[in-house]
Amino acid sequence: MYEPLRCIAAAILILLFGASTGSAQTATGGQTPSPTTKVVSGAFSTPEDPVLALLGVAPQAIFRPSSPSALGTYLVNGMDENGNLKTGLAIQTAPYFLLHGAKITLEEYRRDWAVRALSNVQLSLATTKGASDEDKSVRGAIGLRWVIFDRGDPRLSTKLGECFYHALPLPPVPGTLPSETGVKPLPDEAVAAWKRCLDEHKEEKWNASAWDIGFVPSWTSPDGSLNKFRSATKAVYSTLAYGFEHLNSEFLSKNAQIIFHARYIGDESVPIEGANSQFITQDSVSFGGRLRFGGARFAFSVEGLYTISNPDGGRKDASYRVAIASDIRLTDGVYLEVGLGGTAGRRNQNDEALLLTQIKWNIFNNPELWKSFLARDTGTR
């Protein structure tokens, strides 16, 4: 096992969770000749909710840290490392926003760093259980994620506020006292104008600098009983994105972003190469980076990840993974990622060529996708 200091050191930079944590992903592609070829998905993506990623039930999508919301509750499903179907409940909340949010004004949020810092602490809770009679196991995880800063935070953009002001005029003053009060929707044209403001902001800030850090412990019970819950996989991760805002280069500040990531995963159960349904527990530390060029709609990236694994009862092993990939925005919140790369350096496993393909969706930022996701998988929220 790694010492705590090494774990802390590992958290200095961001780490994106590894492959095969997403749900309902699409993987396609052919074979390439190198020793072995593997089609993977989400090799270097950062999950929006690391708790769900750790439990293997995360719809993943996010490339960079972003601000959390006050409260979200949703049902989830996915596969565990054995391929068993899991269902569960997840809660995602920003506790300070939840408890104190009604008193936080935009002016205060912009002026007071402490208010921003507290507002951007996100707490996630999730449990999953086997979906079949044979699988009674239950897993639970708690995640703490803190967006330390985010230069793309829309609340901090005076330009976006000005755009809202022009897009959203007040209705005329009625000549007599209105008989109805309460909340009313705005006309479609006002909503469309508001959405254009958001799109312009995304286009401008797609590569803004940001930094987040997270910690996720999990527990598991093989038969679902409370007295048999044991500590299971835990993870510490951090992601730092830099958008070159400080350099005197318009090209870089508009078209490039570099993302550093680091993670520690402890007591992770991983399949043994060549052994059917056999697993080994290991700790691992990974460091990586991703250089992206493009914009909000299309980006080309070069990525690398270096991992040191320490299996129980085995020898330390190190490997690296490199890839080139492109993200294409298909529609709002939906991306196609295509890439090519390879993994090498592992002592006990063959080198692999990787074809990276997946559809990624930012379900939490897209109401229509959210609705369809719920309708398909859960039916309620």
Binding site: S69, A70, L71, G72, F97, G101, A102, K103, I104, T105, L106, E107, E108, Y109, R110, S119, P154, R155, T158, L160, G161, F164, Y165, L168, L170, P171, V173, P174, G175, T176, L177, P178, E180, T181, G182, V183, K184, P185, L186, A190, V191, W194, K195, L198, D332, F364, N365, N366, P367, W370, K371
Partner: protein, 127 residues
Amino acid sequence: MPAPVVKMNPTGGPVSVQIVIGFAQWGRYRFVVYDPDGRNPHEVFNGRSDDNIADYFILTQDPASVVNHFLHWDVIVAPFTERPDQSFSVAVVFTQSGISLPGSPIVEIGQFSRPALVAGQAQLALG
């Protein structure tokens, strides 16, 4: 539904009104006074949540001059993303000498994913 009544102290001094748009959401607003018959609108204050101007104004120096009048407000609130689970709140607080008046604050709170108009009103009375 009749407008909620805010009771002013006839000797309590100027009546102030503050609007708090919570959850750090963007908002713009307008306050209009109507006479006791609900006619003759008169805009008394407007503003937005993202400037450095206080979201606060003095409604009247003399509470007796606005007895039975109505104060109506329209607030447009807009979220900064399209996430479906965002919260908003609009609170209108009436005070005299820093003390919240009976019937105040009047609060509208909810969740939204797109801009909305929040309308509210209060009838002013002497308590």
